[in-house]
């Protein structure tokens, strides 16, 4: 059997751990730059705050009901996520844990006898809640897709299930499938859902009665095949090892306010390049292609929420590299190419691709090879920045003014990662 453990309104829960005064108040968390609502507590859902909607549209509702608003505090969420996953690794052994995203993870329970599954699931939930303060839900079933079904139902009926649901008999699985609409199945997107509904397949149960050939034909070949098998309780997705090497690394941000001068954009792009190169080095890789894009502000419309089309370009390097300075140079000259004077821009991004392992960089006959020393320099920079925090060492290209930086008007303290932002107690 497989379990999926999923944190309830994760970002909101993280904020609440250190704020007992808002334990039962409605809470929302905003995306980078305070643009959209990306997390809502149950109480906020109840009063009708929509998901992924722009903040300014929900503002009246939020003020009327005294909803607590937070800018996203990724330092805090990242640390709390680590705590949740580490607790599970300590309890179940790290070989049985597959971290699926920042707030959910699959747990292999193959070695647990059927009769103790509920007890184990409950103890996972309770231990995580006690150790980390984060509320979670657990779904247990024979396959990953079914465990997602179970988890969703556990969350929907918190009072009855106590956030734990185990599908350990064919009858329970059938009931759960009947209670799940096709659009709520993991892996069924909007388009497939519409298609299925037109065929009068409304619930997961209806779908599970279709034959394999039909699913292959109508739900994207082998993917549909697997999905059907999973729904029927035949395992076809195995525990996956984490995506340790990303194929593409991107860093993009909205500017705090529209930017019109080229130097600010260059500084921003240099900073994003620095961040992306750090990520690159952390996975011991190097990149051969660097792309930069900028998004101009829509010129005539006054609406906050429409982007102009993004304008981008890329450079292929002579040799794959992970050195920040070698990446900043082409990135900044791409900005020269893209920038049009007189326009204002609201977003920029850097993307590194053609990623190879650092030790397998194809050498270029005509380049001198003093890479090692410079790699050492990067390591030192990374270490200093990591231990001192706040980018204490940076390349001059990333600038010192940073008037393009993100808006974070409702930022909570980084309670778990900064000495000077610890929670006060009386």
């Amino acid at each position: 059997m497989i379990a999926i453990l999923d944190c309830n309104s994760f970002y909101c829960s993280c904020e609440r751990v250190f704020r007992p005064d808002i334990a039962v108040k409605p809470v929302v968390v905003l995306s980078n730059n305070d643009g959209c609502i990306i997390a809502r507590s149950d109480e906020a859902k109840e009063i009708g705050v929509g998901m992924a909607g722009p903040y300014f549209k929900a503002k009246r509702l939020i003020e009327e009901h005294g909803v607590m608003v937070f800018s996203s505090n990724y330092n805090l969420y990242g640390d709390m996520s680590w705590r949740v996953m580490e607790t599970l690794r300590m309890m179940m052994g790290k070989e049985n844990i597959e971290v699926y995203s920042v707030d959910e993870c699959f747990i292999n329970l193959a070695h647990i006898p059927i009769t103790s599954l509920h007890e184990v699931a409950l103890s996972l939930k309770e231990t995580v809640e006690r150790w980390t303060g984060i509320k979670v839900s657990v779904g247990v079933a024979p396959t990953k897709v079914l465990s997602k079904v179970a988890n969703r139902l556990a969350k929907k009926n918190k009072v009855i299930t106590n956030c734990v649901l185990v599908l350990d008999s064919p009858r329970k699985i059938e009931q759960a499938l009947q209670k799940t609409l096709v659009e709520d199945i993991w892996g069924i997107g909007g388009q497939y859902a519409d298609k299925l509904k037109r065929e009068n397949i409304l619930t997961a149960f209806d779908l599970s009665k279709k034959d394999i050939q039909w699913c292959r034909k109508n739900l994207g070949g082998v993917v549909g095949d697997r999905l059907l098998r999973e729904l029927r309780g035949e395992k076809s997705r195995i525990m996956e090892s984490p995506l340790t090497e990303k194929k593409i690394i991107a860093t993009t941000r909205m500017f705090g306010s529209p930017v019109t001068d080229i130097n600010s954009i260059k500084e921003a792009v240099a900073t994003y390049t620095t961040r992306a190169a750090e990520k690159l080095r952390r996975q011991y890789c190097a990149a051969k292609t660097i792309s930069v894009f900028v998004v101009p502000k829509e010129q005539n419309s006054g609406a906050h929420f429409r982007h102009g089309p993004s304008i981008g370009s890329y450079t292929k390097l002579m040799q794959a590299t992970s050195l920040t300075n070698e990446l900043i140079k082409p990135a900044v000259s791409l900005v020269d190419k893209l920038f049009e004077a007189g326009r204002s821009y609201k977003k920029a991004g850097v993307m590194l691709s053609d990623i190879v392992l650092d030790n397998s960089i194809q050498g270029d006959l005509f380049l001198r090879n003093n890479k090692n020393e410079r790699r050492l320099l990067m390591d030192m920079m990374d270490n200093i920045n990591f231990s001192m925090r706040n980018d204490i060492l940076k390349f001059a290209a990333s600038g010192t003014t940073r008037n393009w930086k993100m808006q974070k008007n409702f930022h909570s303290p980084r309670y778990t990662t900064r000495w000077d932002e610890l929670r006060n107690v009386n």
Binding site: P20, M90, W131, W419, D420, E421, R423, N424, N426
Partner: protein, 158 residues
């Protein structure tokens, strides 16, 4: 099913470290004899943190616990995985506030007790919103002002 202190015994120390982290003299001439006896240096985390994912840091604001050796500005190490028991120093939320007190319990009464003669007990009754947050396992009291320059809390705008 899960024994409360079962997992804690597995977890000693908190830092990943490798052979490379061990300091040697790195002498270019004669290798120092002491290199043969090199070992990992003392790591405060190892002693003071039993269960890392459940351990959090707080800063003491008032003088409610000064007779127990916790002074304003001190850093508290708080472990959420330890069970609350009468006589332990806890961080708890009481009606939305986070406070540090002795937790006391008799047959029919629960209360939070300060270590400061000027303050009274907080009796926990039916309608008190009370939740234990964690157990205070350690207090860090900085003596020399040179350390405090690193640690003064920054005013955070709400």
């Amino acid at each position: 099913m899960i024994d409360d202190n079962f997992y804690q015994s597995i977890y000693a120390g908190t830092k990943k470290f490798s052979q490379d982290d061990i300091q040697t003299a790195n002498a270019t001439g004669f290798g120092a004899a002491a290199d043969d006896y090199a070992e990992r240096g003392i790591d405060l985390n190892e002693q003071l943190i039993m269960n890392k994912p459940a351990t959090f840091f707080f800063r003491m604001n008032g003088d409610a616990m000064s007779e127990a050796g916790i002074y304003p500005g001190d850093i508290l190490i708080v472990d959420r995985s330890i069970k609350v028991a009468s006589g332990k120093i806890v961080v708890a939320s009481v009606n939305g506030d986070l406070v540090v007190r002795y937790f006391k319990q008799t047959m029919n009464k629960l209360w939070l007790e300060p270590a400061n003669g000027r303050l009274g007990n907080m009796v926990l009754e039916e309608f008190t919103e009370y939740r234990p947050w964690g157990i205070v396992t350690c207090v860090i009291h900085l003596l020399d002002p040179v350390l405090k320059t690193f640690n003064t809390p920054r005013k955070h705008k709400k």
